[in-house]
Amino acid sequence: MARVPMDEEKVASCRALAANVATDVQRYIDGHTSVGVERTMLRSFGVEGLGDQGAPLVNLAVDRYHQAGLLGAGISYFLGRALISGAKNVQDATERLAYAPEIDMGKDGPSPALARAALETHVKAAITRIDQARDQREALKARVKPAESPLKYVIVATGNIYDDAVQAKAAAFAGADIIAVIRATAQSLLDYVPHGATTEGYGGTFATQENFRIVRKAVEEATDEYGRYIHQTNYSSGLCMAEIAWMAAVERLDMLLNDAMYGILFRDINMCRTFVDQYVSRRIIARSGIVINTGEDNYLTTADAVDKAHTVLASQFINEAFALRAGLREEQMGLGHAYEIDPWLEDSFLLELAQAQLIRQIFAKHPIKWMPPTKHKTGDVFQSHVHDAMFNLVGITTHQSIELLGMFSEAIHNPMLMDRFLSLKATRYVYNACKHLGDEIEFKPEGRVAKRAVQVLEEAHELLDEVAKEGIWTAISRGAFADVKRTKEGGKGYAGVVARGAEYMNPILEALEGKK
């Protein structure tokens, strides 16, 4: 088997350093909540619907208590009190929080213990709902098995969810195993989740609970028709990452793009907000059995893929450490990386091979997500198709788990039906023709590939050592990742972060954390 040299002690040291980084941030997370987190809890309790101006009810209730400076107690506390004071159910209780003439200052009346007791059955129901969705997914997967890895992942992005459903089935017909519906470009910055089925979106389609259901139905039909389990993917990122994680959990999505730092770096979302939200989103994901896909591939679109290859690896260790703290199993961590080195660079293929194999070995149990070339793609679709074939060759040789297929039209438009078909066909050819290549070859112990792997691990270790010393807040503010600099209090969504008070109550999160 083609293995690259890997210093086990150095890998263990990287993990220990990443653990320090995550532990430092976890102290912050455990002391804070956010409007997004609190909305997620209301949704988990089963609250639905919109106000008369079209804003989600969960936003109206949470924003009201946030503006009154009361969110440090947790929205669950007020929900419990509303139930005790005569609300018919959680929906009615939330409407009272949003619309009652008097806001509940939380002072007199039912004690925290009583409020907690009033929520008990609702907490159980919330957890059961996630568990049932997970069991349903597992049952379907047991009945109709997924294809062998690397699983072929393609994107649909028409802007209209009904077209997306048609395209999803077409892609499955052509051989896709995973369908991702790309989100409309601006959604990550919306501090609410749009409602209902949507047919207008630029650069993609809005992630809504109803849209999740529509695509779920299409991929399930495809699963039965083609006798192969078809996976559904969406985005748990941006200002609503936790809410979307919950929607995906109960609507039985299989994967979610979910990264501890992506929003900070690439969407300029505040880092405090992101760290708090990613934790809660991942607690839900952990329980639901969803596989996350992290976004390190993006680093190489802004930073150089040769010089900054180690930042991808360092970030993967950090993403892993955060995920472990949120209860994810390794089998749920689709750590991301990409084939983004300048293709005209001498031996660029060898450098890609070295990194892909190194990451495969370091994260042996993880369903690694392998991303295609994008940055150096041009309008020359024929050259682009060859470029993708080389990427596929690395994918199959190094046994990547999830492969987002390259599209020859990458530099031109969102993929069309024909583009996906040709990409799937070419990938099928390379995978099949080279199925056991990685098992048949060996790399020279002192050769170029081996040396590159050693170098990348060494550099990742150095970077992690620096980050552990200075802390992630400082590291990000000096541009350690993706050459992007962000400050602790800068970026979008910081106003929605709230320090937890001593009385903070969040029984659903506690249940997800395994606390009594």
């Binding site: 089935k169 077409a170 052509a174 409309a184 470009t185 300029d268 802004t302 078909f421 050459d483």
Partner: protein, 253 residues
């Protein structure tokens, strides 16, 4: 003088082209004939349907070769082009220092809901694109990259506060022409605020060309493959002496 061109396969005038497309028909003799007629309607003589394969249920993918009957008279073409050849780094730095005596302030952003900063990063950031370093790397430029999803009024306010000499608007997402509307709205905003003439307005993106940029009220448009030095050269020519011809192109061969 007339200058006619046809597509070139392996002999002058053969008009050979390749088409690939999808028809909403399952593969069949009828579908093959439909593809052939479809190609003929595009002006292809003797079309050869080289490939017909199912690519989704009820859809077939075709590759067709044929002799295009169409020709173009190049002598009648009049296209607006940004006519600066890229200057060398030394020349750019020299001109800014000698003729302007201060830095050129450039503010750029991806506006509207567009989240794709690849283009604006390539032009402004130090690293640049394809070995050509960005405006940030020049002593003669003060480059501010505001990143993605910047609203038009924010960009205008920031550019005004920084006394920008030039504003770069990048538009990548092009679905249903949202890039045009958004870019146009920005130019109109400056017009309305009364300082459009005080600033050089540049538009860039994979679907942008100079003619489109002019149409939308910009001073220049930069399409795919533009390097930072191209943008720097244009700005230096505009701000440091030389006036750039932006008129029609005329015959190129």
């Amino acid at each position: 003088m007339q200058h006619l061109v046809k597509a070139y396969g392996d002999r002058e005038g053969d008009g050979m082209v390749q088409m690939s497309f999808v028809l909403a028909l399952p593969p069949s003799a009828k579908a093959r004939e439909a593809a052939k007629q479809f190609a003929e309607k595009h002006g292809l003589a003797e079309p050869l349907v080289a490939t017909m394969e199912p690519c989704a249920e009820g859809y077939s993918y075709f590759v067709v070769y044929g002799h295009s009957q169409h020709q173009v008279d190049v002598s009648t073409i009049d296209v607006a082009e940004v006519r600066t050849g890229a200057l060398s780094r030394e020349e750019i730095e020299h001109r800014v220092q000698a003729r302007l005596g201060r830095k050129i302030v450039v503010v750029g952003a991806c506006t509207g809901s567009d989240a794709h900063t690849v283009g604006i990063d390539a032009i402004l950031n130090y690293k640049g694109y394809a070995g050509d370093k960005g405006l940030e790397s020049y002593k003669g430029f003060d480059a501010y990259n505001l990143g993605a999803q910047v609203e038009n009024d924010q960009l205008a306010a920031r550019a005004k506060a920084l006394h920008a000499d030039a504003i770069l608007v990048s538009q990548v997402i092009t679905q249903r022409n949202c890039h045009k509307e958004n870019a146009l709205a920005f130019a109109q905003l400056l017009q309305k605020e009364g300082w459009r003439k005080d600033v050089i307005l540049l538009l860039g993106g994979p679907r942008i060309d100079h003619a489109l940029a002019l149409e939308l009220g910009y001073d220049a448009g930069f399409g795919p493959g533009t390097k930072p030095a191209d943008v720097a050269s244009f700005l230096v020519d505009r701000l440091c002496g030389e006036v750039v011809t932006l008129s029609g192109g005329g015959e190129t061969s």
